[in-house]
Symmetry: C2
C-alpha cells in the first residue's frame, strides 16, 4: 500500500492527525537510560510503543542519529515500527536535496536501507533533484514549502512575481507539475496559520506535514482550521501535525513513556476538538 493510502487509513483508524517526531537527544534521556548500550533505540521504541495507537505517523529525524553514530539504531527502530505497527507509516526526516545522480543514492538510503515510507526533501535544486524519489511510486515525497523557523522568511517569503511568494510558487510547482503520481506532500509550519491556508488553497487535498506546535509555539486550533480538509473521504484530515520534544521529554524519569503517552493523547485530543 502506498504511503498516502497507509497514512489515510491511520488517520481513520487511530482518529488522529498527530505525527510523533523522534528527535532523540541522549542528554535529555532519563538517567537510567543514559549509559545503556543502544540507548537511542530503547528510548525511541519505548516512545513508539506508548504512542502508536495515538499517532498517524512517526517521523525520525536522521540528524539526531547521525550525530551519535546511531544509523544501526535508526534501522532497527524503523524495522520495529514496521513489524509491530504495520499500519503506521514512517517518514524519514532528512530534508535531502542534490543533483539527480546523488539523489538516487539518497533515495536508496531512505527507501532501501532504512525502509522509510516517505522522505522529506528540499526543493531549492528543482525538479530533477526530486525525481529520483518520485521514481519510487509507493513512497511519499514531502517537500519543504513554508518552514516553521524564524529564518524561513529570508527566502520563502520573497515575492517572485505578481505578489506570489516563493513558498506559494513551490506549492504550485509541486501540486501542478511534480505530483503526477499523487505521492507528494508539503511541509508548512504551524507558526504561520495564514500561510497554511494559502497553501491549502493552492494544493487541493494534498497532505501537509505541519511542524511547530509544542516547543516551537504554534497554535493548534489555528493550524487545524487553516489546514484540514476532506482527504480519502475523511473529513477534517489532510494533516500530519508534528510534535517531537513536547512528547519525548514530557517525563524525565523511569516513567517517561507514560508521560509521553499522556502528552500525545492530550495533543491528539486537542487537535480533534477543532476538526
Amino acid at each position: 500500500m502506498s504511503f498516502i493510502d497507509t497514512l489515510a487509513a491511520a488517520w481513520k483508524r487511530n482518529d488522529s492527525l498527530l505525527c510523533v517526531g523522534l528527535d532523540p537527544d541522549p542528554a535529555k534521556f532519563p538517567v537510567h537510560l543514559q549509559d545503556q548500550p543502544d540507548a537511542i533505540f530503547h528510548f525511541c521504541t519505548a516512545i513508539v510503543d506508548a504512542t502508536a495507537d495515538l499517532a498517524c505517523c512517526f517521523k525520525p529525524q536522521i540528524a539526531y542519529f547521525a550525530a551519535h553514530r546511531a544509523e544501526d539504531q535508526l534501522e532497527a527502530l524503523i524495522a520495529h515500527i514496521h513489524v509491530r505497527y504495520p499500519g503506521i507509516p514512517v517518514i524519514l526526516d532528512a530534508k535531502r536535496g542534490d543533483i539527480g545522480s546523488t539523489a538516487e543514492q539518497y533515495a536508496i538510503e531512505a527507501f532501501e536501507r532504512y525502509r522509510a515510507d516517505a522522505v522529506t526533501a528540499n526543493p531549492y535544486m528543482g525538479r530533477d533533484s526530486v525525481e529520483p524519489y518520485l521514481a519510487w511510486k509507493d513512497k511519499g515525497v514531502i517537500l519543504l514549502c513554508r518552514t516553521s523557523n524564524p529564518g524561513g522568511s529570508d527566502l520563502q517569503f520573497l515575492d517572485v512575481g505578481n505578489g506570489e511568494k516563493l513558498y506559494e510558487r513551490v506549492a504550485r510547482l509541486v501540486a501542478g507539475e511534480w505530483n503526477g503520481n499523487g505521492q507528494c506532500a508539503l511541509v508548512v509550519g504551524a507558526t504561520f496559520p495564514a500561510e497554511i491556508a494559502r497553501v491549502r488553497a493552492i494544493v487541493g487535498d494534498m497532505p501537509l506535514l505541519v511542524p511547530g506546535i509544542g516547543a516551537q509555539g504554534g497554535d493548534i486550533e489555528a493550524t487545524v482550521r487553516a489546514g484540514s480538509t476532506v482527504h480519502s473521504g475523511i473529513p477534517g484530515s489532510g494533516l500530519m501535525i508534528n510534535s517531537s520534544r513536547a512528547i519525548l521529554y514530557a517525563g524525565r524519569d523511569e516513567r517517561f513513556a507514560e508521560a509521553a503517552r499522556r502528552v500525545a493523547q492530550e495533543t491528539r485530543d486537542a487537535i480533534n476538538r477543532h476538526r
Copy 2:
C-alpha cells in the same frame, strides 16, 4: 588553521584550483575491488593518494557512503586525508538544511564525527538554519547558490524584485549578512558561466565551489574567466573547481589510480592555462 586559510595555502602549494570529488559507486569500481571488504575506503584512499599533490581540496559526497552503510569508511577516509595530507582540507558534501536545533546535530555530524573542515548547506530555510554551522568559527560553510543541474532554474532563477534573481539574493545575503566571520563560500555551477560572473561581482573574493565540469559538461575556460579572482594575495584563485566522476572512473582496471591521476593532472593543467 581555518578552512579558508588552509584552502588558500593549498591553492598556492599545489598550484591547483582542482577539488577532487569522492562519489564512490561500487558498481563502477574495478573488478578486483568489488568484493573486497571496505572496498569504498580502499577505492577512495587510492584516488586520494594518487591526486593529493594535484588538488586544493577533497569533497566526499555523503550520499554515496550512506546508501551503502559505509559511514565508518567515510570516517576512516577523512582521517586518512588528515593524517597523510594535513594541508588539504576536506569538504563534507551533505547539503544539509534544517531548523537550528537539528542543524546543531548536523554540525556535530560534520565537524565532530567526520572531522570535516567544511560542509555544504542549503539556504532555503534561512539564516537561523545556517547559524549552528557558523558557530564553528574555523570551519567552512558552503551555501548552495546557483546549482549545476537543469532543475536549478526552477527556483533559483526566479525574479525576486527589481530584476534580482533568487540565486543573486542568496549571494547577497551570504556575503552581506551571514559571513561575519569570513568562513562562507558558495556553490555556483560551471554550466552557467554568466552567473558565476554575476555571483563573483556580488561577493568580492569569497571562494566559490564550482561543480559541473567533466561529466556535467561545463566549460573550464569560461568558468575560470568568470570566477577567478585575487584571494589571499594569490592571483587567479578563489575557486574550487570540482571534478568527480571523470577522475574517479577514468580507468576501470587495476591501474585505475594512475588513470585518475592522469585525468586530475590534465584537469588541473587545463584550469591553470586560463588563470
